[in-house]
């Protein structure tokens, strides 16, 4: 498999802030790759390094086999970008911005543009000054989706969209995928990532903490089981991979790793299983698990100066 994006040990510091701290990221051709992480994790910094807007302090970064800093111009012919915060020129109309970006890229397809305007229900005659956040995002999305770029880099593209538009967006991304194009989608909306992405990288504090297919990641997550048995299910506590075991009367609840589900079921059945609900592993659960300890640490660290300085993001 050929990688469109490949970074290894990426480091970027702003003053004393270490925004990227050895980040690894690999995005294969034709994949929709999710970049997950909380605010300030380094998602936008990663993307801006990939776009050649920032120069990495250390590490390797390869985009389409080239160097995003050195070969920016050549690489930009092959990609389209939607920034997280879309700032448009207030005096230009939405239609003008879309046409301008398309012409600069050199691949503006007017039919596709008009079709997208209709699907996203965007009025192109309004001045950018009067657009809401969601509508500004639609302008950038239409401009990017109307292109024929091989790679779409989207930085939290749906944070201002309503649920209806969110589903239009998901349809568009599926079409892009069918055309064999590659998408890097940064998000903190887990449902969106679950819907769209083939592979996911979870980053925090500028480092990749998990990466893999959704199946692989689900495997890492735990399934929550709640069951009623006639006799107390002894033996569960000795089973490896079982955590958070609680017994309340006849009801037992616990989390179990995917490869231990079968053994757990066997024990439950041996003790007279009467009722069973199981919640499948979600990215959300994985996300929370990956962040749980991290958040706790952060909270402890920032508590002393919580009264004064607001913790600032990676920007």
């Amino acid at each position: 498999m050929v990688d469109v994006i490949s970074t290894r040990g990426l480091v970027k510091t702003f003053g004393r802030t270490r925004a990227l701290d050895g980040l690894d990221l690999e995005v294969a051709v034709g994949d929709v790759h999710g970049l997950l992480g909380p605010n300030g994790a380094g998602k936008t910094t990663t993307i801006r390094v990939l776009l050649g807007l920032l120069h990495a302090d250390d590490g390797d970064v390869v985009l389409f086999g080239g160097d995003p800093w050195q070969d920016a111009l050549m690489l930009h012919r092959r990609l389209a970008y939607v920034p997280g915060e879309v700032n448009l020129w207030p005096k230009l109309s939405g239609g003008e911005v879309i046409d301008l970006l398309g012409r600069l890229r050199g691949d503006l397809d007017y039919r596709r543009r008009d079709e997208l305007l209709e699907r996203f229900e965007l009025d192109p005659t309004k001045k950018a000054r009067t657009y809401s956040k969601g509508n500004r995002q639609k302008v950038a999305l239409v401009a990017a989706l109307a292109s024929t770029a091989e790679l779409l880099i989207l930085d939290e593209p749906t944070s201002g969209l309503d649920p209806l538009m969110e589903s239009v967006f998901q349809d568009c991304i599926r079409e892009v995928k069918q055309q064999g194009r590659t998408v890097l989608l940064s998000s903190h909306i887990l449902a969106e990532v679950e819907q769209l992405c083939d592979r996911v990288s979870i980053i925090r504090s500028g480092r990749t903490v998990q990466t893999g297919t959704l199946t692989e990641l689900r495997h890492l997550a735990l399934t929550s089981i709640s069951a009623v048995t006639i006799r107390p299910p002894t033996g569960l506590s000795n089973l490896p991979g079982v955590t958070d075991l609680k017994l309340e009367g006849q009801r037992v609840t616990f989390d179990v790793e995917t490869d231990q589900i079968e053994s757990a079921m066997r024990i439950l059945m041996e003790h007279g299983l009467r009722d069973l609900t199981s919640a499948p592993p979600t990215i959300e659960a994985l996300f929370l698990r990956e962040y749980g300890d991290f958040m706790a640490r952060e909270a402890a660290r920032s508590a002393p100066d919580a009264a004064g300085n607001m913790p600032t993001g990676a920007q």
Binding site: G52, L104, I153
Partner: protein
């Protein structure tokens, strides 16, 4: 008083955020006044020297146009008010209108106001806070100036009057800016409107002062000078700006209460659904973004030129057979009084035109901080192409602005003298400053590439050139420092002969600075 809820918090916030800006404004204005009295004492050590200077100034219309009415010139105090009063008043007015626009419309335009209004902040809190900050700065400047002058053994009443006249003008322009910030949704247009009032005020008083002084009564700057500091001291003219300040404040309050947040009085119209043909390149975008600014500048400079040109007429009609006139003309090495005046007027307009050049290049930085180039630079648009687009607009725009200024200055003079040949002569004399203006464009570009956070330093260079140009001799600025100014190096046509070598050197330095900026931008992070 719930409408004013949170004003004090906002004032402290502005005081903290803009502390450097506030200190620089106050320090530069007070310092400028503070160094004048010692300079005058060393330049004119005896009463005889002062008397002689007074006679010369009274006959020199070119000086009166820039400095103001001739009053009490035979005293050190009167000479201080004459030499530094006009520029002090202009600086105080600029400071007030820029600070007020910055704290009101610029904040609103950025969307930050919305964030604040959603808190328990009162409806008029921003207006009130901007007013309090401007008032505090003006009072501090006025008080310090009065104290410094008293400390320099100048008459008590005159020093107080001089300080008070500056406070009154500052407050007037603060109030004007507060009102204009309500009218338009663009902060640049808002400060431009208030700036236009300042320009008209200067022109009216220049025309008034070379005549019988009646026109000066229509000018806010005139009111401050009619207080005659060190030359009789009359308080009552300050009642006019005081009353009008209240009128403009009432206007700002009423307009502000009626409109929606973010909106002006003029509603935006829908634009085209498709981009016009010429909007498809970085240059096309830069032209589109800046054409309004260039046009406004060209029109403003044309009007300013007409003002200066009309004064040239007045001067030429004054030039009679008086002995003092002949002496002055002789001292100027044979150039006519009108040409001497034009030499100074064009020099001054060149310095103002350079402000356009700097402002135009700084658009690069304001775009960058809003992350707008991200979308452009991730298309196959090179960094150089993007920088070059705005720099090109700045360079070509400078030509337009200078030509407009030259045409403005030439038109009334050519009409009255029935001499169309004056037009190319004066326009060419104006364009002599093009290399100097371009050097400033280059300086701003170099700063943008090398030290993007410090692009404002170009204004400091500008202020230095201005001071050197107007006070260089008075303050005995060392020659090497004077020589650093490209405007000083440019021959002041038509009052001086044309020399090409300095123009070539200035052009080379400008090109060097431009290149440095473009190359440096290639090697730095964006954002």
């Amino acid at each position: 008083m719930s409408d004013l809820n949170g004003t004090w918090t906002l004032v402290r916030f502005i005081g903290h955020r803009d502390r450097l800006r506030i200190v620089l404004w106050i320090a530069s204005i007070v310092l400028l006044v503070a160094i004048t009295a010692p300079a005058i004492r060393s330049l004119f050590p005896t009463q005889g020297d002062l008397d002689k200077a007074a006679v010369a100034s009274a006959a020199n219309y070119a000086v009166i146009v820039f400095n103001g009415p001739v009053q009490g010139l035979a005293t050190v105090g009167g000479e201080v008010a004459f030499q530094v009063g006009s520029i002090m008043l202009i600086m105080v007015a600029l400071m007030s209108l820029l600070m007020v626009t910055r704290c009101t419309r610029a904040e609103e335009e950025s969307g930050r106001t919305e964030l604040l209004r959603a808190t328990s902040l009162g409806r008029h809190a921003e207006i009130a806070a901007a007013l309090v900050v401007a008032a505090a700065m003006n009072l501090l400047i006025g008080g310090l100036i009065a104290a410094v002058l008293i400390g320099q053994r100048l008459p008590f009443a005159g020093s107080l009057m001089f300080g008070a006249s500056s406070v009154a003008l500052g407050m007037f322009f603060g109030a004007v800016a507060l009102a204009s910030a309500q009218v338009t949704e663009n902060s640049r247009v808002a400060s431009g409107l208030a700036g236009a009032v300042l320009g008209v005020a200067f022109m009216l008083r220049a025309l008034g002062d070379i005549g019988d002084g009646r026109l000066s009564w229509l000018s806010p700057i005139g009111w401050s000078q009619k207080t005659r500091p060190f030359a009789g001291n009359q308080w009552w003219p300050l009642l006019i700006p005081l009353a009008l300040t209240l009128v403009f404040l009432y206007m700002a309050r009423t307009l502000g209460a009626r409109r929606d947040i973010g909106a002006g009085l003029v509603q935006p119209r829908p634009g085209p659904a498709r981009a016009p043909r010429n909007l498809g390149s970085p240059l096309g975008l830069a032209v589109r973004l800046q054409r309004g600014t260039v046009l406004t500048w060209a029109v403003a400079m044309f009007i300013l030129g007409v003002g200066f040109g009309s004064v040239a007429n007045a001067i030429s009609s004054f030039v009679g057979d008086s002995q003092s006139m002949k002496e002055i003309i002789a001292r100027m090495g044979g150039t006519t009084l009108v040409d001497a005046y034009l030499g100074t007027a064009l020099f001054m307009m060149a310095i103002i035109a350079a402000c356009y050049g700097i402002q135009s290049v700084q658009r690069l930085r304001s775009e960058e901080t809003l992350l707008r180039p991200d979308q452009l630079l991730t298309t196959p648009t090179s960094r150089s192409a993007w920088v070059a687009s705005h720099v090109t607009v700045a360079l070509v725009g400078s030509v337009l602005v200078l030509v407009a200024a030259g045409l403005g200055a030439a038109a009334p003079y050519a009409i009255v003298t029935h001499n169309a040949g004056q037009v190319p002569r004066i326009v060419a004399a104006m364009l002599i400053y093009l290399p100097a203006v371009w050097l400033l464009v280059g300086l701003a570009t170099a700063l943008f590439g090398l030290l993007p956070q410090a692009v404002g330093a170009a204004w400091a260079a500008m202020a230095l050139y201005f001071m050197v140009g107007f006070f260089g001799d008075l303050l005995k600025v060392p020659t090497w420092l004077q020589n650093l100014s490209p405007f000083q190096q440019t021959p002041h046509l038509p009052a001086a002969p044309l020399i090409l070598l300095p123009l070539a050197i200035i052009t080379l330095v400008g090109v060097g600075l431009l290149t440095t900026g473009m190359v440096a931008f290639h090697h730095r992070d964006i954002g």
